[in-house]
Symmetry: C2
Amino acid sequence: LTRGRRPSTETLAGLPVAVDAVGGDHAPAAVLEGAHAARRDGTPVLLVGPPERVGDTGGLDLSACTEVIAMDEDPAQGVRRKKDSSLVRAAELVRDAQASAMVSAGNTGATMAAALLRMGRLPGVLRPCIATPLPRLGGAPAVLVDAGANAECTPTMLVQFAQMGAAYATERYGVSRPTVGLLSIGEEASKGTPLVKETHAHMAGGAGVDFAGNVEGRDLLPSPVDVVVTDGFTGNVTLKSLEGALRFLFATLLERFGTDERSRAAADVLLPYLAPVATEFEPDRIGGAMLLGVAGVCVIGHGSSSATAIANAITSAYQLATGGLVEQLARAVAPTEAPAPGERAVVGE
Amino acid sequence: LTRGRRPSTETLAGLPVAVDAVGGDHAPAAVLEGAHAARRDGTPVLLVGPPERVGDTGGLDLSACTEVIAMDEDPAQGVRRKKDSSLVRAAELVRDAQASAMVSAGNTGATMAAALLRMGRLPGVLRPCIATPLPRLGGAPAVLVDAGANAECTPTMLVQFAQMGAAYATERYGVSRPTVGLLSIGEEASKGTPLVKETHAHMAGGAGVDFAGNVEGRDLLPSPVDVVVTDGFTGNVTLKSLEGALRFLFATLLERFGTDERSRAAADVLLPYLAPVATEFEPDRIGGAMLLGVAGVCVIGHGSSSATAIANAITSAYQLATGGLVEQLARAVAPTEAPAPGERAVVGE
């Protein structure tokens, strides 16, 4: 496997987004619907999947393959064994400059593995990470990195996540000078695990990001910083905790609203006032997590992605790819490492 | 540091709970009010603090000292230097069997340090941990351990947290056979950090607890297991994330409720239906976090503890101390330490 190329943004305009037609709980119906919506909005789309599983595409182009990596399949094995799967083929389309980006709401680990193994890492990137939006009512979301790609991290990896997360906040959400916070258990530099303390020292020493110090769990909603950096274990647990808590609370409120006629009548009046809040926390609006650090744009949708979520994911994948996200990420990471001449990236561990 | 004695529960009945009169954001007023309420409910109370800072105790006994460890003071230094502080004195009262338990809403780290250094650890306990309730609507809360005492953990420490957490769930919430889950990023034993994977193997191999496997962040509210085990870094971040998210959402809902006259009128009807939900998530009802693994009962209140929270903390501290919690904790952990030939672990069966 070779180090990922630096893609040339100009060549991407007009290239379709490769969309895994068979990934996600509601595939292929929701994927097809979302792909059509994105296409109507002017985004070129290329479905990828086994024709017999995809069915009638309604006129959308389909890149045929023969295999599917299931939602619960082992990611590394799936990618290794199923070389003609929709995920592997989609990643190859990006690698071969036949697609501008890839989108899947399927097996998250397999999507990451396919993108990493087929596209390769950007020069200097130790590990790709997942960036996920943290909603801030009425404003641009903050970005959480790493939201789950790497359970084990080193300080240098976290610094790179910060650099890539900041570049992403700029490209995706238009934040011109993103502030970066390090997730810990107290504001003081002395708080946290050795990983956090060392990372704090690196970032405070100037790592090309606007470091605002440590942030705590209670700061995530709404986040005072534009980028929150953490290891993928903590990021995954935290994000799922937040999702679970919000879902539980919304469900509980709705249940109470339906207690009796009196409560239902009052709820009918109030729901329109509350709908915007629910919408802000809706994964559909947000359009998926982004894999940062591979040589291409790869958007990973929630397994439960609706057609709207898929459409948003496709549209933003295309905008980011043609807008030069990958070049910005490569630039953001470059200064921290002076790779020896001829150094080879080793992927596939 | 000496190993803590095994306390004799019988000697504790009738002994007052040592209450840090100067700890917490609303001390001493809220502490005094809470102490009076606990006293009225039949719990003997002994305030600890500098008389000039405490003021009129309204007839409650006061153990006078001269120093106070501030909320933002370095815990280790504070305890080392301020030997006549309310926290150190309260811990000594428990150590010397002049108090049944201690309660503070002050500096969390200093409270832990004072309890650990003055009471000592229970035999075999590697590190004390903090147990915090995770609300489950209408049922006994689940218990999260470690909620923040130890940023760095070993698998053996996590196993002990599980054992102590289970004993605590039984003593505190009457759960007769608590199930234990390990917080990770997937259900499979292969998921997570090396710490999590090794701990999983230990617990699956029989550690005297009813191990239900891994749980994820989305499972915390409401928790399907009675005890959720994690390291203190992840526990702290997760718990604060949940607290922050719930506070943010409640505040946002209240704000929307007050949008205009129409919404306010509907909200007036609905609020009584929602109040029980808010109450369940109110720290006041819950009565503080518990330090498990020291040779005495030590309850750590939220810094923002109200009088009600203080009263609940004092009452439950007394009940747990006189009910034999510390003996149960010692018994729960004992089997992991070089069991004598023929000795069998009996905890949790």
